[in-house]
Symmetry: D3
Subunit: 132 residues, 6 copies
């Protein structure tokens, strides 16, 4: 199994609902360093997993739609806690939708899965992995 | 599949028995940067994998019981080489026992696995992964 | 010259005023990984720069007063942009005040300077350095 | 499942053929930080996954055969793009051949897989994983 | 003293002339992770050291002129070894020229110095620091 | 001012004497990731600060004399606490002695200073800097 990972980041404000979050129920924020991993069983004819320039661009567009915003104001997250693990899922699902829409080019047909890791600090991170 | 990881560390002395260890048979030491990963298939009602404050606290307690000690003197390790991979297993098993004892709260029932990575230097690390 | 550095972090919301900030004028947030460095010309009688446990505790207290908050609501920052470089200064000055108040113990008398670095992402950070 | 990882690096020149590579079709270069991971289900009698000194030495020999060279001149890569993911495969396969040749000693019989990750920068890396 | 640092990278081929370089006299390559630091004694009216977006853009332009190339073919480096330390100087000098040309805006008048660090691997890096 | 830094590491056991050290008075250990920085005002005729191969080798020899040992048994440290900051000084002084002994070759005559940083964990490190 092969994989290629590209890194980007976003800086957002948000708050959580639920006693389990303690003081994180207050409005606060985070820098999320975002790693998006693309997987496939065999390399394509160019000896690559995916066009890394396309992958970086698509990740940047998805992250850019969240960056420098208060996620509490985003209707896409109504009724949801924008936890690190939840945001990993959101970004992975949005990347998957772009793969299926053909945004990664023909060579992306062989992709079998996507994993997204969000680092919220030097001592905590979360991941979500899904098939394509 | 979702995962959340928290990081802590410990600074211990130990020695190894066996020719394969060469000069590491002498009493020496290590800083182990310890990453504990908790996995589950779906997020709970709060949109989290695990209460991250509880996870950090439990890891800190387990690591704290080893920290700033000579592991050669710990009866728990009699007859065992406290290699990086072995200590990863010990910490993962102790975390698993705490999950089963209910220390992570009700939302931890959905956890499916634990992985622990110990970094012994900038150029070497070891992991152990197990189901819950 | 000797130095000792300890690391902590905080996760805050804030916004900036001024055209130079572009989209960062919107409410957003950041994880700041905070490195506090203590400097002195010669080691004390215990062969240390500073009691590292005290240094970590003092940094944690100062960072904790900012952590998980919206800095736009903090009267201490009225009329100020809480940029990475400004926050580095604020934390350095608060640490310096604690040194002068004796919080680091007698052995801290020989400290000559403090530097604070805040990492806002994997690709940007800022520092402030001052004498004691 | 246990794993042990060791890190090395190499600094090479190369170029790519194919429109997908854009300006990377020109002769350029890369530092690859190389992580080689060895996996097995149970520890051996010494409580280790593999002799870490042997693993480091074997990785260093394989990386050394590529280091400080122009890969475009290496007959082993004729007709192949030496992408990060392709090189991860090459190094993993060469390590596997050495394991099968007995270079890691008797205790390596229990190894079940190898994974190799090449970091090409702070924002991109690729991996290849295979059974043994 | 305040500073702000931004990070970028470039992937180049080159070779060195001189016996001291040993096998690095062969054509090879490197990824250089490039950190550019801007220094000033006091913050400007916006509470910043420099417009970080402008700084990132200027660094990207300078690095982009070297990226994905064989530096042996660049007339700017005729008769010079493009060592890590030399390239740090080149990038710092080019950034300084852009500051003096007004590319960083009016708020850059207070800048007092620039430092550039190039990381050539996880175990080696070089820096050059100069006044403005 | 130019500088070049090389990284190595050592894994040692030790204990401290003095109430300020609390539980670290017990025998414990550490991995120290060691960064040695060499400084000079101008590059030599080869466009380098120092022969990086020689620098790496000299650092490795000095670190190797401490590695995989209990520093409490080393007569060189009688009556001294082998704190992170103290060990930084010891390594810097030993490197300086080697420079003065000619071990770095003729091109090392222009070196003006050495700095050594020891990382004891992901959240603490210490440095010592001295002229040559």
């Amino acid at each position: 199994m092969f994989s290629v990972t590209v890194r980007d980041h976003m800086m957002i404000a948000h708050s959580f609902r639920g006693e389990v979050f303690g003081p994180a129920q207050r409005l606060h924020g985070a820098t999320f360093v975002v790693d998006a991993t693309f997987k496939r069983a065999a390399l394509d004819a160019d000896d690559i997993v995916v066009d890394i320039a396309a992958a970086s661009q698509e990740l940047n567009t998805i992250v850019g739609a969240l960056n420098l915003r208060n996620l509490d104001d985003d209707p896409a997250f109504a009724g949801v806690n924008t936890t690190t693990e939840k945001l990993a899922q959101v970004i992975a699902d949005r990347l998957a939708a772009r793969v299926h829409a053909g945004a990664f080019g023909d060579n992306a047909r062989g992709l079998s899965g996507i994993a997204v890791t969000l680092h919220e600090s030097h001592i905590a991170w979360a991941s979500y992995e899904r098939p394509l």
